[in-house]
Amino acid sequence: MPDPKRNCGPEDAIEPPVLYTEKQAGKPLDKNNKRSDGRKWDELRPLYMKVGIITKAQGSVYLEMGDTKTYSSHLRTKEIIRRDEFSLKGKVFCEFKFMPFSRIHYCEQRQSFEEKMISKTISDAMEGVILLEKFPKAQVDISIQVIQDDGSALSLALTAASIALINANIEIKDLVVGTTLRFFDSNELLVDPTIEEEHGPFSKYPGGAGFHMAVLPSLAQISSLKQTGRIEQSQARDCIETCWESCLRLATGIKKLLKEANEEDVQR
């Protein structure tokens, strides 16, 4: 449907079909138990974080894990003006968007259904963490843009949203840390999958299940859990425990980085 306010291209444009000449299917773990990028099954990609990067927002962070890059910011806590929406507890509004060039296929500028679902997931997770009683009649706005999606975008976005809120000095119960996990029918688990390994339309390895889990490390609570695919109950338990351990590992790393960033700020 043509959007009058944006430059829309020709309506019949299609993604260029890619024809693979060799059989590309392989196994997620090769004979040395290493993945295609050399990691072990439970190894997370290196993390890079920079807070306060968006000067025009109250709090912001740039988070990068491997090739998945995302910016998140908390803009403002504004008053809800409409009278029938008055409540003693604040509300959370989250806008999540993939940049048009971030995925393998072109993403439209308008929010797609998938992005709206992810926005809702993140705002639901944040509702449990922010002390909304301190913001009566107000709305906390979070905005997340993903520059490049190389797997685990939802978990990284959720982590980035909580770090942005911390940077904005919004009162929250705990840091929220998320990781993604991919489970295969051959009983192999991969933590923090890349886009080729992740359960989804671009996965090289079909079947199995994909897990996304977000955890509050100090309170030892699960903030958000999402599973797609098909899995046995006992295997699901193993997946949840593995996710939990990876989240805790990631949380120690992030807390250390936040502390260093805070000390730099104080020195300035």
Partner: protein
């Protein structure tokens, strides 16, 4: 207290600084913010660039799709620019429909980008399949002068775009992209760069930051290419002739500085 005065009387605040030939953020009156360009930052795009003018940060990326050409131009591809100022970049923007500012910058980019490359180069099968390149510029931090940053990012992204080779199946006529195949660099006819001067009280201030943009009387923007030819000009302020001439001279100098940075960075960031 200085902050209170700045919010209550922004124009007076600026005038006090301009009396001493300095701007509120410490720059001299004709000074511009530091420019940083990084090319090929996003590997999922055919070409990408990130441009920072001081705190203003903008990312441009190019994605390609196949489309049918129009009947009037059966061998011409498309370049579709779009600028988005998401809620992320500044508290004054809300999520949803694009803001007027974003639409106006998109239109300017469109008028500059129609000529920037030979659209016949984007043809794959004349009359049937052409490349349709979506050029999207997303602002991450809006601290003023998004137009200049967006145009520079567009030029840098196009300059570093590599189109994948296509394979045409003779029997079915299906055009496919060869995965991991050779890529051809896109050739640009010229490198457009814009320079914006904000007009305030008979003084022209180049590269305005956000607080200066809010109190300006108008702007003069000029698009110049590497051969010092003027490609486009937009002016929304009334300037006397001599000031306009001085402004154009300044714009030419600044444009050559921006282009030299772009060329140096493109060599550094080529994969």
């Amino acid at each position: 207290m200085a902050d209170d005065f700045r919010y209550a009387q922004p124009k007076q605040y600026q005038r006090l600084f301009l009396k001493d030939d300095i701007r509120p953020d410490g720059r001299p009156v004709t000074g511009c913010r530091e420019v940083k360009i990084h090319c090929n930052t996003v590997s999922s795009a055919l070409g990408s660039a990130m441009v920072c003018f001081g705190n203003t940060r903008v990312i441009a990326g190019i994605k390609g799709r196949f489309a049918e050409p129009t009947i009037n131009n059966p061998s011409s591809g498309y370049i579709i620019p779009n600028v988005s100022l998401p809620g992320l970049c500044n508290t004054k923007y809300r999520p949803g429909m694009p803001v007027d500012k974003a639409i106006s910058i998109s239109h300017k980019l469109e008028s500059i980008s129609t000529d920037v490359t030979d659209l016949m180069e984007l043809c794959i099968v004349p009359g049937k399949v052409v490349w349709c390149l979506y050029l999207d510029v997303v602002c991450i931090n809006d601290d003023g002068n998004v137009l200049d940053a967006a145009v520079l990012a567009m030029t840098a992204a196009l300059f570093n775009t590599w189109l994948p080779t296509t394979h045409i199946n003779e029997e079915t006529g299906l055009v496919t992209v060869v995965p991991g195949g050779e890529k051809t660099k896109m050739i640009l006819k010229f490198l457009p760069v814009t320079v914006t001067l904000s007009v305030f009280d008979d003084v022209t201030l180049p590269d305005p930051c956000e607080s200066e943009e809010q109190i300006e009387a108008g702007t003069v923007t000029c698009c110049v290419d590497e051969n010092s030819k003027m490609r486009a000009m937009w002016a929304s302020a009334d300037l006397p002739d001599d000031m306009m001439a001085a402004a154009l001279l300044y714009i030419q100098k600044r444009a050559s500085v921006l282009l030299s940075v772009l060329r140096k960075v493109s060599q550094r960031d080529t994969p």
